[in-house]
Amino acid sequence: MLGINKMAGENRTQESAEPLAPVNVPGPETINENYETVGSPLVDNPLVKCRNVNVHYGEKQAIFNVNIDIAKNEVIAMIGPSGCGKSTFLRCINRMNDTIDICRVKGDIELEGQDIYNRSVDAVELRARVGIVFQKPNPFPKSIYENVAYGPRIHGLVNRKSDLDDIVENSLKRAGLWDEVKDDLDSSGTGLSGGQQQRLCIARTIAVSPDIILMDEPCSALDPIATARIEQLIADLSKNYTIAIVTHSMQQAARVSSRTAYFHLGKLIEVGETEVIFTRPLHSLTEAYITGRFG
């Protein structure tokens, strides 16, 4: 894995002749408030449209003026050094930041043309449409069945037990966990292995049929085999869902995503086709990061 080093920007060398960030001093001051993302952050007919998004934790600003679109049924990866605001931005999309007292989000985020921060929008309903999977698997201390049934139950998606059974079975199947747990759905979700727990959390999220699934480093607590399974799962899910995934692994971003966004110190530096980002990045900071010179 890549090391984590916020200050490593100083190691940049002269050879990357990208004019957007002056060489040798790529501190936050060189990319000012009005910095414009390079590459192709915007798409036609976006599912999610983010404009001028700024996020503060108390006095501290974590996200600066981010503009980005997410297209339907794409997998978009978000990469960048630790602390650059990937999680913060991801959590804006389903208003999970509302649960943090000191967090304030400004700007427009639209889901299918509807401003999700509008007063008339219920964050609770929004989160049913935009599911989230966290870095650390967090199954409820309930049975496997109850974990998956939780969402459909609270949203009143089903009336009959048999319908619920179907949803649970389907979700577990799509999360690739069904074969392993079908005989003990009543045992506790916390008793599963880390990788199984993460797939259970994904099943739980799928069970409420969201439009978008946000994933915040879903594999960082998992071993390579479990990681490979989740990546396969993401590829399968991408047929039906739109997925935004934060990851620290370049290889993972390259494997699962069609577009990649690179964040740096709260700013969105570059967005482009994953292939382009990893082979011919436009921005020197992006290049420095993906070639492992810092981050």
Binding site: M96, K136, G151, I154
Partner: protein, 462 residues
């Protein structure tokens, strides 16, 4: 030299020995080129010297103090005239205290008779001997110990091991004291209870429905044989505890949920200390409050709607006890609720659950075992509570579950039984021990269950 001066001198010697040890280690380290060449840090040398100073001196002091009186008594009694040897134990000790009085000049020699002069003189002699030599010997031993430790100190010998070991033993002894006193209390209660059950059959005690512990104090009294059925007391105790829990559990739990999940940090910072003040009020004040304010209020309210209410009612005591226990329940529940990891909440919110759904369906079930444990602990407090019920519940042993009547509890009866003059082997007095035993067994059982549940719950998130 009296004991307090002796202790002061010992403390001075101890402090000196600590610095002596530290300085000695530095002196040892000097020629070697610094403290890092010592086997242990200088403070350990200091502690080593302290141990050598204090431990032998204290042991001597303790042994001397505890054996002194009996040794002296034996030596003095040996010098008494032969007729003294024939006296019984009680009379002998009476005689010995008279010898003591003469020796200290409170009584004249002639009250005893010349035959006792050698004994008296011996006592005077021995007393002055111990008064002078005990402190001297103790201090000498302390100083010798200190000097010995300083002499033994060397750069090679790792004094850390003996010092740590000594501290280990000290800690072990301290915990031993707690355990031993608990065991002591249990056994004394147990033995007295056994004596009680020799007079009153266990069956009658456990299943008797009448409690009137009036028994003949003099042999010629008639008609008062006493009834020792514990059932009315247990019912009364349970009734009052149940009322208390009805008040405390919902209120405490809901305030805990409010504080842990809804309250802003500012509100929490104000409300939590206020709740804890409630826990700091002495129970006798609650008792007052129950007897003087709540009980009459209930009575008046009851009468205004045509109910007959006793002036001392289970309801008054239970309500006030419930209020007393609220902070207990709320702070324990608050702890377990806040201990539910944030990731559980995130998981639930992330699925589109509202705050109240999250609390009801995720947080509360996850915290439930801990809450149950807390409630059980609260119940055992309610059952053992004395002051409020003594003041507000009355002492009439009604077998009733009507909360408007006066009832009595196990604790109240223990107090009533032990107040006043009785002989100690009287069934009435011994009954208090049997009640104590019952109380102890109940609370022990509850605490045991509570701890077990809480422990099981702890394992869940690790």
């Amino acid at each position: 030299m009296d004991l307090s001066t002796l202790v002061l001198v010992l403390i001075a010697v101890t402090v000196a020995s600590y610095y002596g040890g530290v300085m000695r280690s530095q002196a040892l380290a000097g020629p070697l080129g610094g403290i890092k060449h010592l086997a242990a840090l200088p403070s350990y040398y200091g502690f080593m010297a302290v141990i050598w100073t204090v431990v032998p001196a204290l042991i001597l002091l303790l042994i001397w103090t505890f054996t002194e009186s009996s040794v002296i008594a034996n030596m003095v009694i040996a010098l008494m005239p032969p007729e003294a040897a024939n006296l019984g134990e009680g009379e002998l000790s009476l005689l010995y205290s008279r010898v003591g009085n003469v020796a200290s000049g409170i009584m004249e020699m002639d009250t005893l008779g010349e035959a006792y002069r050698p004994a008296v003189e011996r006592l005077v002699e021995l007393d002055s001997f111990t008064a002078h030599f005990k402190p001297l010997l103790v201090i000498t031993l302390a100083v010798t110990g200190a000097l010995l430790a300083l002499k033994m100190a060397s750069a090679k010998w790792n004094v850390r091991y003996p010092v740590e070991r000594t501290f280990n033993i000290l800690l072990f002894l301290s915990s031993g004291i707690a355990v031993l006193s608990t065991a002591g209390i249990i056994f004394s209660v147990l033995f007295e209870s056994i004596r009680f059950f020799q007079q009153i059959p266990l069956f009658n005690f456990l299943f008797g429905t009448e409690w009137s512990p009036q028994i003949a104090i003099r042999a010629d009294q008639v008609g008062a044989s006493g009834a020792f059925g514990v059932v009315p007391l247990l019912v009364g105790t349970l009734l009052i505890s149940a009322i208390a829990m009805l008040v405390a559990v919902p209120t405490g739990l809901m305030s805990a949920i409010y504080l842990a999940e809804y309250a802003s940090k500012k509100t929490r910072d104000i409300v939590k200390p206020l709740l804890e003040i409630l826990a700091g009020i002495p129970t006798i004040v609650y008792g007052f409050f129950a007897a003087i304010t709540v009980a009459p209020a209930i009575r008046r309210a009851g009468e205004s709607i045509g109910l007959e209410v006793a002036s001392e009612s289970a309801l008054a005591a239970g309500l006030v006890m419930g209020v007393m226990i609220i902070p207990f329940v709320s702070s324990l529940s608050d702890d377990v609720i806040t201990a539910v990891p944030q990731s559980m909440r995130d998981g639930s919110y992330g699925l589109g659950a509202t705050q109240s759904e999250t609390i009801r369906k995720v947080i509360f079930p996850a915290a439930l075992p801990g809450i149950v444990g807390g409630v059980l602990l609260a119940i055992s407090r309610a059952i053992g509570e004395t002051m409020i019920v003594v003041m507000a519940a009355g002492s009439v042993a009604n077998l009733s579950i009507n909360p408007l009547e006066a009832v009595t509890t196990v604790t109240v009866q223990i107090v009533t039984l032990l107040v006043g003059d009785q002989e100690f082997d009287n069934a009435k007095t011994l009954a208090a021990f049997a009640l104590g035993l019952i109380l102890f067994l109940i609370t022990l059982g509850l605490n045991f269950m509570a701890l077990h549940i809480v422990k099981k719950y702890r394992e869940q998130y690790d």
